[in-house]
């Protein structure tokens, strides 16, 4: 079943200890869509400027990502320039220009309004609410947010959360939203704000999933080389939502497997700059890493028990 994603598309300049990439395709909607497309049809809602390059429209189109909702406006595409520290959990933003994204007013196409699966990437809670109000009766709504919105649009965010099934955010943001340092209590507090499931992203330390009846913890797949962490969270969300949409419904088993597939997709994207690693990724590679991931985290049975 098809997923509608509403988010950003931009050109990123990224510096890490492994090199630099200039004006590479980025943005939450880009990472999400390319990852989710391995599992399910995806339909984008996003805005770009007149400088958006044909090769990138082609990049999406070649993957059969629906870009009818990708609006091109007068002005320039969103730009971000960041530099990561050796500790890649830290980065500095050297330059940020919202450009056409500053006036982004998402309008869904009629068929997008009827989609079963919606991912609201990291845009303002007011815009997220605006999208929600256009949807007929989505089966699963997932949303991402960040410290900026928690600090500046807390009321709008709290108003939107009851309409969200799944909220994704990182550990610092979970603490900030819940106003609680302990992550378990923070996760439970956020559940009370509305979502049925809260996914706390902890970067290289993996993901903690909170739902009413259970907790689920997965480590990140340990990598020998992380070249560029940009987009890891949105790529995780893409794999996660893609898997859920493919299955058509949420059960605890589907959620857990979705978290693993999300982690698998996230582990690929950081191996190279921008979307480079996802661009030539094969199903065989995804499947092999999924199995490696299961083996990595298998604490009690399967192949080991027979030894």
């Amino acid at each position: 079943m098809s997923i509608v994603v509403v988010g950003s598309i931009g050109y990123d300049t990224v510096e890490t200890q492994f090199g630099r990439v200039d004006e590479a395709l980025g943005g939450s909607a880009s990472f999400f869509s390319v990852a989710a497309r391995f599992f399910s049809p995806v339909s984008m809602v996003a805005v770009v400027g007149k400088d958006f390059r044909d090769e990138h429209l082609k990049f999406f189109a070649e993957r059969a990502i629906d870009i009818r909702g990708l609006v091109q406006r007068e002005g320039e595409t969103f730009r971000w320039h960041g530099r990561y520290h050796e500790d890649m959990n830290q980065r500095d933003t050297l330059h940020l220009a919202l450009n056409v994204f500053a006036d982004f007013m998402p309008e869904l196409l009629p068929d997008q309004c009827r989609a079963d699966f919606l991912f609201l990437a990291n845009i303002s809670p007011q815009l997220q609410q605006r999208v929600l109000s256009q949807m007929k009766s989505p089966k699963v709504v997932a949303a991402d947010t960040m410290d900026h919105w928690i600090n500046t649009e807390r009321t709008a965010l709290l108003k939107m959360l009851p309409r969200v099934d799944i909220l994704t955010l990182n550990d610092q943001e979970a603490r900030l939203l819940a106003q609680e340092h302990n992550l378990v209590r923070a996760g439970r507090a956020i559940l009370k704000m509305g979502p049925d499931t809260v996914l706390v992203k902890r970067g290289e330390y993996g993901v903690l999933q909170f739902s009413q009846e259970s907790m689920f913890a997965v480590p990140a797949y340990p990598l020998e080389e992380v070249v560029d962490p940009t987009g890891a969270g949105d790529t995780f969300a893409g794999g996660f939502m893609g898997y859920i949409a493919r299955h058509g419904k949420i059960t605890e088993s589907v959620l857990r497997t979705a978290v693993v597939y999300g982690s698998v997709m996230g582990s690929f994207v950081v191996e190279r700059f921008s979307l480079d690693r996802l661009a030539d990724l094969s199903w065989e590679e995804i499947d092999a890493r999924y199995r490696a991931f299961i083996e990595l985290t298998d604490s009690h049975h399967s192949r080991w028990i027979s030894q």
Copy 2:
């Protein structure tokens, strides 16, 4: 089968945001022994001063921990006074007095020399080597170390590592020892220094186990309240080695289950100050949390698959 542990016994004064405890029983050998004793017989090698209190000898004896190798010398017992930040990964040492521990020269009893399982807690590599030279033919030798020894006694440490089956250390120490920032490469580099298994302790983020053929990652059990992290690593090691000794041999399956039991024991000890939580812990509680831990990390089957 019996485990010999060589390490420290001390009196800890600990301050956290949840309160303070003065002159509480601590030290690596204490935490290790009490945790391991749930799984296997334990025999201590340690030194205390004349001020060591009878109630604490009784505490060990009541748990049938063999204290024949606990030597009492003229002088005072090891003292440590620490204060944890709100972020409990950070702490300041306010006072440290090695006292009788400064001249610790471990001498094993004849039956201890014949033990199958040895845990060398965090003492100098030279002392660890001294203990190893007294052992006849241990089946499994595990050792802990820390940044201080890596920085000041690197040569002695590297000389000892080929005689160690399992090395435990934290993530920063693994990076320091391997001189490699990436943790996967660091773990593999340490394997080449001698140990068959390297356990990288990541505190609230769990444990990464490296062996020649596989990696295993477990998260820490997410707790609503961490009162005092002191001794978590040694308690982890106690549960880990206790489980291995109980099984008598190492297989991948035993190692992985041992890591989970170690994590379970570590998750209990931090719930209260000092050894308080381990003191009245029951097998039923350990078993229940073991099952909760398996459920927490179960990414692919068991009870969820049937939904």
